[in-house]
Symmetry: C2
Subunit: 265 residues, 2 copies
DNA sequence: GGTACATTACTGACCGGTCAGTTATTTAAT
DNA sequence: ATTAAATAACTGACCGGTCAGTAATGTACC
């Protein structure tokens, strides 16, 4: 995690207090910023801390970035595009079955992106996109769109080759991506405190297995149900069971009885 | 939603400038806070704005909540627990097939929680849990844990009844919840700017279909592959996957053999 | 190769705006 | 008239952004 590259003040006098490393600084600052933005969120991250983690002073940060927001933009933009290009290249060269392509795509995605510091970006974007519409647009265009397109094209090939059932590509693509994104996001939020000790690899494996089985047999139930319905009773429309009758006397609204005590730790 | 409940200063003079509504304020403030926390994040939300949205002044907020953090805690705690109780009750009364139970559980989840203001809480928690370990713990215990337990128990019943293949319950539960969570989260972040016009209902429908097909046919490929392998080459036990160095092209297959593969427990 | 001069990467104290939290005051309600 | 719900002016800490100064490095001249 690239801590202070030279922050051990050795007793010997010859140690310079700092070095001039004009060309290494930006990347180091960007990495530190990414880590802190992911950890704390944009607003709660102090630039002093970013600078400290990169082993420089806040002034130095402003030599390379115009503002906190510029730093944020840079972090997202510079990091994610190369990663996408790589993924697309990888897949373009693949010409086996769609099933294999999908599987290896997901594993590559995990190993090359989600399990690295870049894996924090989805959380960051989910948390901040409404505060930075411009960046959100960029991210949507360059990452989400291209990512789902990638998945969609592979699945489409699978359908064409008869590996998968025909299905609604747009929605399926988003559905199968979701667990991967959640995996990445969780690792940088809930898992961190909640002491989850699930194995990410096992999670990916399970998801891939579920997904492939799903793609192969999608829609079979509909057929079965239609047959069953026809055999049994006059058609009952697809309904959502159980009206919302608020069984318990509780309101689903947030409710504060008395004054909320502060902390008490 | 829920703008200033009484903020139209009518020209008639008899109008009081404000009302005393001791018992309605807390809920109104909490809702306003939830909306803004979800929209901007905790740190970027100003209490003046929360108060304004609830139609009161900041001082009033402090009559009911001791601090910004207490407000945050209250919002999460008071809102989510009743919702969980409801879901558990609903499922306890269900005694049809596991497949039906799962499906209706997901639809209820969508209609009763995810599509309401409460649907913003997952995003809020993902974004802020590292800043509030205490709340994260609470949320993990009272929501994530209970939610996955719910799913797991239904799937376990399905396995027992022979509806589903045997599978790793822990991981599968998290995998099938992920798309629902992502749906909720997206609606409050990326979708807001990115002009996604996907239909949430169609998304849920697609996910349910995929999931059920997956559960019914989970692991069939493994069997098929084993047979193919046995037919082709002398059985070599699978080795660990290519150490994620993954220089190029080839896909690092997930290890299928090895230690774990704990089936439904 | 040593020394004086020039350049610039880097520092850290400081400033000003913002906002969580407080308090003195006003006003609805009984 | 009394009580307490609600207000609005106020305070002070904190943090993004600035800049005058400093120290590391590069270079010209001997």
């Amino acid at each position: 995690m690239a801590q202070h590259p030279a922050k051990a003040p050795s007793p010997t006098s010859a140690e310079p207090r700092w070095e001039r490393r004009k060309q290494a600084r930006p990347a180091e600052l960007a990495l530190a910023a990414l880590e802190l933005f992911v950890e704390k969120g944009f607003a709660a991250t102090r630039l002093d801390d970013v600078a400290a983690r990169a082993g420089v002073s806040k002034g130095t940060l402003y030599l390379y970035f115009d503002s906190k927001e510029a730093l944020f933009k840079s972090v997202v933009r510079e990091s994610i595009v190369p990663a996408m290009v790589e993924a697309e290249d990888m897949l373009a060269q693949h010409n086996g079955s769609a099933e294999e392509a999908l599987e290896s795509l997901f594993w590559e995605w995990w190993h090359r992106i989600l399990s690295t510091p870049l894996g924090g970006i989805p959380k960051l974007m989910l948390a901040e996109s409404r505060n930075f519409p411009e960046i959100a647009d960029f991210y949507h265009r360059e990452v989400i769109q291209r990512g789902t397109d990638l998945i969609r094209s592979v699945i489409a090939r699978g359908v064409k080759r008869g590996e998968f059932q025909p299905l609604n590509l747009d929605y399926v693509a988003h559905v199968v991506i979701a667990p991967m994104v959640m995996l990445a996001v969780s690792r940088h939020s809930v898992d961190f405190c909640g002491r989850e000790n699930r194995d990410p690899l096992e999670f990916v494996r399970t998801h891939v297995e579920m997904m492939l089985a799903g793609l192969r047999h999608y829609g079979e139930r509909a057929v079965r149900d239609r047959e069953r319905l026809r055999a049994l009773a006059p058609g009952r429309p697809r309904s959502l069971p159980a009206k919302r009758t608020a069984t318990s006397g509780r309101s689903p609204r947030p409710r504060a009885g008395g004054k909320q005590r502060k902390e008490s730790r």
